[in-house]
């Protein structure tokens, strides 16, 4: 039990760090919106930040980081394909 307890405490630390990163990224996204920074470049930066946030949730919070099978790629693929489509649509719009 003690061994499990120590392992859990240790494993929670990266999740807490991820939480701080997620909050920081959220504020960066919000600041870009507040600053009325528009244009393709800023849109793609904001989208990139969102995709990284989604990746971190999938890997660390959902626990997909240690999966050996195709399930490891579920969230990554879900982020990648719509991410590409959104990028394509925004680039084509100018």
């Amino acid at each position: 039990m003690q061994k499990t307890h120590n392992r859990n405490r240790y494993a929670l630390r990266p999740c807490t760090v991820i939480y701080i990163i997620l909050v920081s990224f959220t504020f960066i996204t919000w600041l870009i919106g507040k600053s009325s920074l528009t244009g393709l470049g800023f849109s793609l930066v904001v989208l990139g930040i969102a995709l990284i946030k989604g990746f971190m949730i999938g890997d660390y919070y959902m626990g997909l980081r240690g999966i050996n099978s195709i399930w490891r790629w579920v969230i990554i693929l879900w982020l990648f394909i719509p991410g590409c489509l959104i990028t394509w649509a925004f680039v084509s719009a100018g």
């Binding site: 039990m1 499990t4 307890h5 392992r7 859990n8 494993a11 929670l12 990266p14 999740c15 807490t16 939480y19 997620l22 909050v23 959220t26 504020f27 996204t29 919000w30 870009i32 919106g33 507040k34 528009t38 244009g39 800023f42 849109s43 904001v46 989208l47 930040i49 969102a50 995709l51 946030k53 989604g54 949730i57 999938g58 660390y60 919070y61 959902m62 626990g63 997909l64 980081r65 240690g66 999966i67 050996n68 099978s69 399930w71 579920v74 969230i75 879900w78 982020l79 394909i81 719509p82 489509l85 959104i86 394509w88 649509a89 925004f90 084509s92 719009a93 100018g94």
Partner: protein, 193 residues
């Protein structure tokens, strides 16, 4: 037993496999919604950019922080049950549900503001997407809160322990999915111009 936060090599994701089939189906629907929004926008850039100006990014920020925080609370709940700390697990789950409730209240305030200004589904293409996407997600938040509440009740009844916590992980995975969808929805609808 799989965990949602330890790095253990295994073949299947945490929680019940059935919830992952459900999550995949939900993610597919949202992906189609996102792509449709983006490609529709590419033909109506001026309309979408102008309509976006009437959205409140401060409220969207609060909602994003509420969901991110609730996801973290759910991670803590899984960690607690793995240590056989059932009461702590229940407390974290209740905290996560409370964060979900904050999300709902803020969203209702936002909807009320739009309704008060005469903005609805029929106003234009942007608001059709805005209301459809955010309300569809809104319903998922409610379902997630129901699932987390049910998990908390079962935990209180002693159904989970450090050797049997698949139910807690199943609820947690669904809630994280709701969070991930919002993390894309927030910049796409509110910020990207």
């Amino acid at each position: 037993m799989p965990s949602s936060y330890t790095i253990e090599r295994r073949d299947y994701p945490p929680g019940d496999l059935a919830i992952w089939i459900f999550i995949l189906a939900e993610l597919l629907v949202f992906a189609i919604f996102f792509a449709t929004y983006a490609f529709t926008r590419s033909n109506h850039v001026a309309l979408f950019n102008h309509s976006q100006l009437s959205l409140n990014t401060n409220l969207a920020l609060i909602n994003t922080l509420a969901l991110i925080t609730s996801s973290y609370f759910v991670v803590r709940a899984v960690a607690a049950i793995r240590e056989d700390k059932t009461r702590l697990c229940i407390h974290w789950l209740i905290a996560a549900v409370m964060m979900g409730f904050i999300f709902l209240v803020v969203k209702v305030i936002e909807y009320h503001h739009h309704y008060h200004n005469g903005i609805n589904l029929r106003t234009n293409l942007f608001f059709m997407f805005y209301f459809s996407l955010t309300f569809f997600h809104f319903m998922h938040v409610i379902l997630g809160m129901v699932i987390l509440s049910a998990v908390a009740i079962k935990a209180r009844q002693g159904h989970y322990s450090s050797t049997d916590f698949t139910g807690v992980e199943t609820g947690a995975c669904y809630w994280h999915m709701v969070d991930i969808v919002w993390l894309i929805l927030f910049p796409l609808i509110y910020i990207m111009k």
